[in-house]
C-alpha cells in the first residue's frame, strides 16, 4: 500500500517552507488562551500549529499554511495579531 494515514508532521513535510526565524507572523497571547475554554484552534488549525503542552496552548508558526482559520475561529482574541509572513517567507505551494 502506498497510500497511508499521514500524521501531522508527515503532512507538513510534504510542503516547502521558508521560516522567517524570529519573526512570527501570528502573535498569540498565552494568558488569554489559558482562560479560553473552547480552544477551537486545537481542533481546526489544519496544520496543528496549536497544541496542548502541559495543559497550555502552545503555538508554533513554522508550519503555518497561512489559511486564516485560527484568526476566524478565535473567539477570545488570543490571536492578538494575524498577518501574512514577510515576503518570500512561509509556505510555497507547488501543486495545489
Amino acid at each position: 500500500m502506498t497510500i497511508k494515514k499521514l500524521g501531522p508532521e508527515e503532512l507538513l513535510s510534504l510542503d516547502k517552507f521558508s521560516v522567517d526565524e524570529g519573526h512570527p507572523h501570528i502573535l498569540v497571547d498565552k494568558a488569554i488562551c489559558a482562560t479560553c475554554k473552547a480552544r477551537p484552534c486545537l481542533i481546526v488549525c489544519p496544520a496543528r500549529c496549536y497544541r496542548l503542552k502541559d495543559d497550555q496552548v502552545n503555538f508554533e508558526y513554522a508550519g503555518c499554511l497561512e489559511c486564516g482559520t485560527c484568526r476566524v475561529v478565535c473567539m477570545d482574541k488570543g490571536v492578538t495579531s494575524w498577518n501574512y509572513p514577510r515576503a518570500t517567507f512561509g509556505v510555497t505551494f507547488r501543486c495545489s
Binding site: 500500500m1 502506498t2 497511508k4 494515514k5 499521514l6 503532512l11 510534504l14
Partner: protein
C-alpha cells in the same frame, strides 16, 4: 513623487480575480502594477479545484485554449459514504466536454502563474514576492499602497488579496470574516499515473471526473471533494469550522480516515502524496458578501469580496473571481470621475450577472444546517442499499416494511418532515 511613478491601477494579489482585472486593464493600455506576496503567482493558493470555463470566455474568447487546464470534467459524481460502504451516483455527460467544455480541473500553482504571465504579455508589471502592508489614504481617498518602506501610488487600488482580505478591513469596508460564513478546507495532492486515473474513473485521456462526498465528516457540516487532474488527484474535505470546534477529533484525523475509507483508498492507491494544503472558503454565498465593496480609489474583488457559491453539488469561486475582476476593470475603464468607479463596479457585477447568480442561491446554505445530511442520511442510503442487495438464502423480509425500518433507524417521521420543510424553504 513624479507623475511617471504613479500607476493607473495597482492590483494586489495575482489570483484569478486580480489577474483578470489587470489583464483587461493592461490590454486597454492602462499602466498596471500587480503585486503578489508569493514568490510566484499561485504559490500561496489552494483550491479544490475546478474552473468553470465561461468566465475565461467572458474575459477573452478562446483564452481557455491557452490555459494550463487539467482535465475537462465530463463525470459528475455524488458519493454517500457509510461506515465501510458507499453509494455513488455517477452522471456522465460527454456534452460537458464538447464545444467550449463546461469546466476543467485546475492546479493553482500552474494556472495562476500562467495567468500572471498573460497579464505581463499585455504590458502590465507583475511583481512577485512583495507583501502589501498598508494602504495610503489622503483626503479620504485611497491613493496607493505601502510595502515595507516603499510607497507606490495609483488612481485606483484593486484588492484581490483573497478570502482573508486584510486590505478590505484596513480600508474600513468590512470587519473580519466570521467563522459561520466560511469553511475550512484541507487537501492532499496525490500523484498518480495518468493512465491509471483514466481507467479508474472510466475517462478518456483528456476527460475528468469531479466528485463530492458526504458522510465523511463525523457529522460536521461539510463535505469532501475529489478532482482528477493530469497526473494527480486532488482530495480534500471542507468543514464548517464552528461545528468542527465543538467535537473532539482533529479535522486532519477525520480527513485521513476519509482518505483511507475502503471506497476511497483504492482510487488513489499506487499514488504518492506530494502536497498538503489548507484554505478557508466563503461558504454562505450572497449573504456573505460585504455591503460595501468599494470606496474612492479602492475596489474589492474575488474571494476578498467573499464571492462564492456552494450548492453542495456545484462549488464555485474562481469563475466568480474572474468575472468580478472583469467587472472591476470595466468599471475603471468606463469611469470618467474617480468617485463614480465604485458605483460602476456594482453596476458591472449586475450586468455580468454575477450578483444574479449569487442571489439565485442566496438561501441555499441553510440546507447545511440540516445535520442529518452529514451523517444520518448517507448512512440511511447505504443501509437501504445493503438490504436491497443482500441475498443470503433466508426468507426475504417484506420490502416496504424493512425499508421503512431502515428509514426510522436514522430519522423519525417528524425529523424527516422538518428536514424536508427546511430543504424546501432553502431552495
Amino acid at each position: 513623487m513624479a507623475e511617471e511613478d504613479k500607476f493607473d491601477a495597482i492590483v494586489v494579489g495575482a489570483g484569478p480575480a486580480g489577474s483578470a482585472c489587470a489583464y483587461i486593464l493592461a490590454k486597454e493600455g492602462k499602466n498596471v502594477l500587480v503585486l503578489e506576496r508569493g514568490n510566484s503567482a499561485g504559490s500561496k493558493n489552494v483550491s479544490g479545484g475546478r474552473l468553470y470555463t465561461y468566465a475565461l470566455e467572458l474575459l477573452e474568447r478562446d483564452m481557455y485554449k491557452r490555459a494550463p487546464l487539467q482535465r475537462k470534467i465530463v463525470r459528475e459524481q455524488i458519493m454517500l459514504l457509510g461506515d465501510r460502504g458507499a453509494t455513488t451516483i455517477d452522471y456522465f455527460n460527454p456534452a460537458f466536454g464538447e464545444e467550449v467544455p463546461q469546466s476543467y480541473s485546475v492546479v493553482r500553482a500552474e494556472l495562476d502563474e500562467w495567468f500572471a504571465g498573460e497579464v505581463e504579455t499585455q504590458g502590465a508589471t507583475v511583481a512577485s514576492g512583495i507583501l502589501v502592508d498598508e494602504l495610503i489614504e489622503e483626503n479620504g481617498k485611497i491613493v496607493g499602497i505601502r510595502s515595507g518602506t516603499d510607497e507606490m501610488r495609483a488612481d485606483i487600488v484593486v484588492a484581490a488579496d483573497g478570502v482573508n482580505s486584510l486590505l478590505g478591513q484596513k480600508a474600513g469596508l468590512f470587519p473580519d470574516v466570521r467563522a459561520h460564513a466560511v469553511g475550512v478546507g484541507v487537501k492532499e495532492t496525490i500523484e498518480l499515473p495518468d493512465s491509471l486515473i483514466s481507467s479508474r474513473f472510466a475517462l478518456q485521456d483528456n476527460e475528468g471526473a469531479a466528485r463530492v462526498a458526504i458522510g465523511c465528516t463525523d457529522g460536521i457540516s461539510g463535505g469532501a471533494f475529489l478532482y482528477t487532474n493530469r497526473g494527480s488527484i486532488s482530495l480534500g474535505i471542507v468543514f464548517n469550522p464552528e461545528q468542527a470546534a465543538k467535537q473532539p477529533r482533529h479535522i486532519q484525523d477525520i480527513f485521513q480516515d476519509f482518505k483511507m475509507h475502503p471506497a476511497i483508498q483504492p482510487l488513489i492507491e499506487g499514488g504518492t502524496s506530494v502536497e498538503y494544503g489548507a484554505h478557508i472558503v466563503p461558504e454562505i454565498g450572497f449573504h456573505g458578501i460585504p455591503k460595501r465593496l468599494h470606496r474612492e480609489g479602492f475596489l474589492v474583488v474575488g474571494d476578498a469580496a467573499q464571492l462564492g457559491i456552494n450548492t453542495g453539488l456545484i462549488i464555485r469561486g474562481m469563475d466568480l473571481a474572474i468575472v468580478s475582476g472583469l467587472a472591476a476593470a470595466r468599471a475603471i475603464l468606463k469611469s470618467t470621475a474617480q468617485a463614480d468607479t465604485g458605483a460602476l463596479y456594482m453596476q458591472q457585477l449586475e450586468e455580468l450577472l454575477l450578483l444574479a447568480n449569487e442571489r439565485a442561491y442566496q438561501n441555499f446554505h441553510n440546507i447545511f444546517d440540516i445535520s442529518r445530511i452529514f451523517g444520518g442520511y448517507p448512512k440511511l442510503a447505504n443501509d437501504a442499499m445493503q438490504f436491497l442487495f443482500t441475498v443470503d438464502g433466508h426468507t426475504p423480509k417484506p420490502m416496504l416494511k424493512e425499508l421503512l425500518g431502515v428509514v426510522k433507524k436514522h430519522a423519525s417521521y417528524g425529523q424527516l418532515a422538518a428536514d424536508g420543510w427546511k430543504a424546501y424553504r432553502s431552495l
